[in-house]
Assembly symmetry: C2
Homo-oligomer: 556 residues x 2
């Protein structure tokens, strides 16, 4: 009876239901703040009114060139105005934006263009040769558009014939074009390839609803003030800049473009453009600390950092320089960073070491992420909050991807049990903050068993001869992967490989023990982080291992 | 082909799709900030952990008492902890919260209880007699729950027998109850009665999706910092406190309750509790200005004000006292205030008069409101931006109500043409900011309360001497507006002004009664329609009223 009372004449109507989409932000900001600066690029300033016109021109021109709803339009460009314009112009054509990582090699770019079936490819001139090389192996050549960015290094375009100039394309379009809006908020808006841990990149599909929700999540979780001046340090090809392409636009902010990230250029942007917000990897923060980039007096610059926990020394250094850092956690499949290490008031009373430890945690879910758990991947039972029991980090909510393109098996695996499985291994502390103890790539899967590389490393550190140890996966015909240990020895110590292996076998399950031990100096980043990817490369090649191992042995 | 590419295995799943609901905010805040203060009430402090337990107890107890999904649970209470708890506890039972205006008379409360078919009524002790009187004419008595708020004046409960105590009810419930969550985000969460312009109040139905969107709209449009300390000046029974019941919870803020709004009590809350945000009608701001309520040094208190434009003198006075005021526009059917007079940087250079003029405009849509137009109500064509041509203000978007309960005709009328028609008449200035020139034909806003002129007219027509009655707003220093009645008498009848006023006061809530009654022939159009705009002009001038009133009196 009550059911029927609320069922009468209360169905969604055009007045009260409209597909959620971040596209709506452009119109509102251009309507309300037409003269505010939308984009800064070197000496160029572009208003929101002009930016909307250009986005509409792009959309209109793409439609006139035959782009159909849900066609893919790829972009290979650094953080330029054209890249930002594409984030509105492409979806306004009803198409799906595929921003490609410019650091990939030609084979990977080719794979993405083929797999995503891109109909159009916008290419910044700096990456013309990369695009040309990639296109050689793409059977159906997309329409290629040459972006002659004002600040790009001069260079070749992608094949002088059969290539349109970006500005000429825009000139074909109608600046009053209203766009092709999604009829269903679940329609895709973006396609982002993630370098999977195994095999080919996977195409993460994001919906209009999902990116809308992540945009608003970012606005509320950081939280953004009115009119932020945002510096594009984080590449827009990383999950659409964690949706800040759209979120900063919703906040009627200013996008300050940046082709190359170097401390001097960041410093210049802070001085010249009044930048007050940016996102950056900890390595960028380390660079700012090393160069002593000082925030101009009287201001605070807010920074989101993700990727790995910011080292305590870096955190302290940049804080003293005037940066206010929030540590967040993200993953392409979540469309951005729905998790943050939001501070508790009690932390202010901690000593520096204790505070650094809690700030290194990945944290807790944002108010707009519906679910987060660290659970046993088999049973789905959440781990206890003991700071010790590892489980898999799982997320759930409206800002999670739709799935992997043309890969229903991988999608089903990723969503098994009703949660998105990040593959990251974490523990939960008594206060509910979780901490990643082993990035998914650091999990070695041997004969169906997961091995935590950190666990093996911890054991090896107990050996008196070991200064540093790093354990990675080594391919193995029988077991799939087996652990391979790289060890930096204490001065004067020269144990044999067999001695280390025996030491491990006495102390842990045999399947977890290193099959190979290589004595060598460990490759490190500027901030002292061990570059495991280099070790994985070495472990992937028997020849490389042998090369590295021999000198050590000969020195015995 | 592309369509099919994106159609493979990309359907919504539990991992990436969950019904949007503001209920999710409670769990997240209680999980992440269990020990932060959720509610302050006098000397009482209640943590988020405890608040969640109590909301869950309420939900669990309601379910055990037989409350079914979509049953209506009404609340008649001022801004107390119980009122806030009901905003989570009632929907967590799967039910719909109906917060009733405590300023209504028994007849109106009775109408609401009957029309909304309330199964449960929670009553603050201060309003026990009002509830008892209302219940006399409700055929199916709901379960009545007596809220013995710690700060309520001592008084009777609603019928000592057949009445549960709120705390006893909570004790019946399970503090670990996870709740009955909506399966469809379009499901109703709240029912708010608005004093319609004609006849009986209309029941505005709000959905989980709509209130979620309005909560997030408030968070992004004001925008809210982390952990705001919010003072409940605005009644929660006004459109669920414009959704700040949920928005402040999402921001992990503190709700500071307030039973009665008086400048001294607001001042005390600012001092004692560190309040930094509240919403208030311009009359409240005027009171703060008159009493010179000073914001403690070094702080700024942010205020949203709506209802009528804040007078320039009041705005200037409270700004000097340390308040930072944003002028917004709302309407119950929009679930809150999706429009605001967001400042432009150019305004800082204006002289005080010009700035006051632009600040008095209602403004522009928030980034999360999908559409706003001022258009000809017949043709739907937007009016020119000339600051002169009047049109009807129309809104569109995901935070608009589902419709009016059991009134599909009124719903259809309100949504005609795909827009929600506010009934407010506005002009649009060249900068795109709109300004209301004529409040919804017939609504008088007095001390933040909407009064339907038609309702007052209907009552006056019941007086034997009244032939025609027309009620319009008259400016008032304290209340903003008060009702002024123009009455055309039946031949040979000559009641005194006081008699008419007394007649009204016996029959309806006092705030709705005319302050002035002018006996005169009513100006009419050729078709016999009363020309209210002429009466508003008269009511706007004391001199004109006096001119008109005197002859009538002298004729007595």
């Amino acid at each position: 009876m009550s059911q029927s009372m609320f069922a009468q004449g209360l169905m969604p109507s055009p007045a009260n239901h409209e597909p959620l989409t971040p596209l709506s932000f452009l119109d509102r900001t251009a309507d309300v703040f037409p003269d505010r600066v939308a984009i800064v690029h070197g000496d160029m300033r572009q208003s929101w009114c002009e930016t909307r016109k250009r986005c509409r021109r792009l959309a209109s021109a793409l439609v006139r060139r035959g782009v159909k709803p849900l066609d893919v339009v790829a972009v290979l460009a650094p953080n330029t105005p054209a890249m930002l314009e594409a984030h509105f112009g492409v979806p306004l054509a009803g198409a799906v934006i595929n921003a490609i990582n410019v650091r990939l090699d030609a084979d990977a770019v080719s794979f993405i263009l083929r797999h995503g079936e891109a109909k159009v490819l916008l290419v910044d001139r700096e990456f013309a040769s990369l695009a040309a090389a990639a296109l050689e192996t793409v059977p159906h050549r997309p329409l290629v558009v040459d972006i002659a960015d004002a600040l790009a290094p001069t260079g070749p375009t992608v094949g002088a014939h059969d290539c349109e100039a970006y500005e000429a394309l825009l000139a074909e379009g109608d600046e009053d074009f209203e766009g092709v809006w999604p009829e269903d908020e679940q329609a895709p808006i973006a396609l982002n390839y993630t370098s999977g841990t195994t095999g080919d990149p996977k195409g993460v599909v994001a919906s209009h609803r999902g990116t809308f929700m992540m945009s608003v999540l970012q606005m509320t979780n950081w939280p953004l003030p009115r009119h932020p001046t945002y510096l594009w340090v984080l590449p827009m090809f990383h999950a659409n800049g964690w949706c800040f392409t759209w979120a900063i636009s919703a906040a009627a902010g200013t996008h300050v473009c940046l082709r190359k990230v170097a401390p001097a250029q960041v410093a210049q942007a802070l001085d010249r453009h009044g930048v007050d917000h940016f996102c950056a990897a900890p390595t960028v923060m380390a660079g700012l600390a090393a160069e002593r980039v000082q925030v101009p007096a009287g201001r605070t610059v807010r920074v989101l950092t993700a990727g790995s926990p910011p080292p305590a020394t870096v955190l302290q250094a940049v804080t003293e320089l005037g940066f206010s850092v929030d540590h967040v956690y993200g993953i392409t499949e979540a469309l951005g960073t729905p998790v943050s290490c939001v501070p508790q008031t009690t932390w202010a009373q901690m000593d520096a070491d204790a505070r650094a430890r809690v700030q290194a945690r990945q944290g807790v879910r944002a108010a707009l992420l519906e679910g987060l758990q660290v659970a046993d991947p088999e049973t789905g039972v959440p781990v206890p909050r003991d700071g010790r029991t590892p489980g898999e980090l799982m997320l759930r909510g409206n800002s999670i991807m739709k799935g992997y393109l043309k890969n229903p098996q991988a999608t089903a695996r990723a969503f098994e049990g009703g949660w998105f499985r990040t593959g990251d291994v974490a523990v939960v502390h008594p206060d509910g903050y979780f901490q990643i103890v082993d990035r998914s790539k650091d999990v070695i899967i041997s004969g169906g068993e997961n091995i935590s590389s950190v666990e093996v490393e911890d054991l090896l550190h107990a050996h008196a001869a070991v200064l540093h140890a790093a354990v990675v996966a080594m391919p193995d015909d029988k077991w799939g992967e087996v652990p391979c240990a790289f060890i930096e020895l204490r001065p004067g110590r020269h144990p044999a490989e067999e001695e280390i292996i025996a030491f491990a076998r006495e102390r842990m399950a045999h399947f977890k023990c290193p099959r190979r031990v290589v004595f060598t100096e460990l490759p490190k980043t500027g901030t002292g982080k061990i570059q495991k990817f280099k070790l994985r490369e070495i472990a992937g090649s028997q020849a490389a291992i042998t090369r590295l191992a021999e000198p050590a042995r000969s020195g015995e």
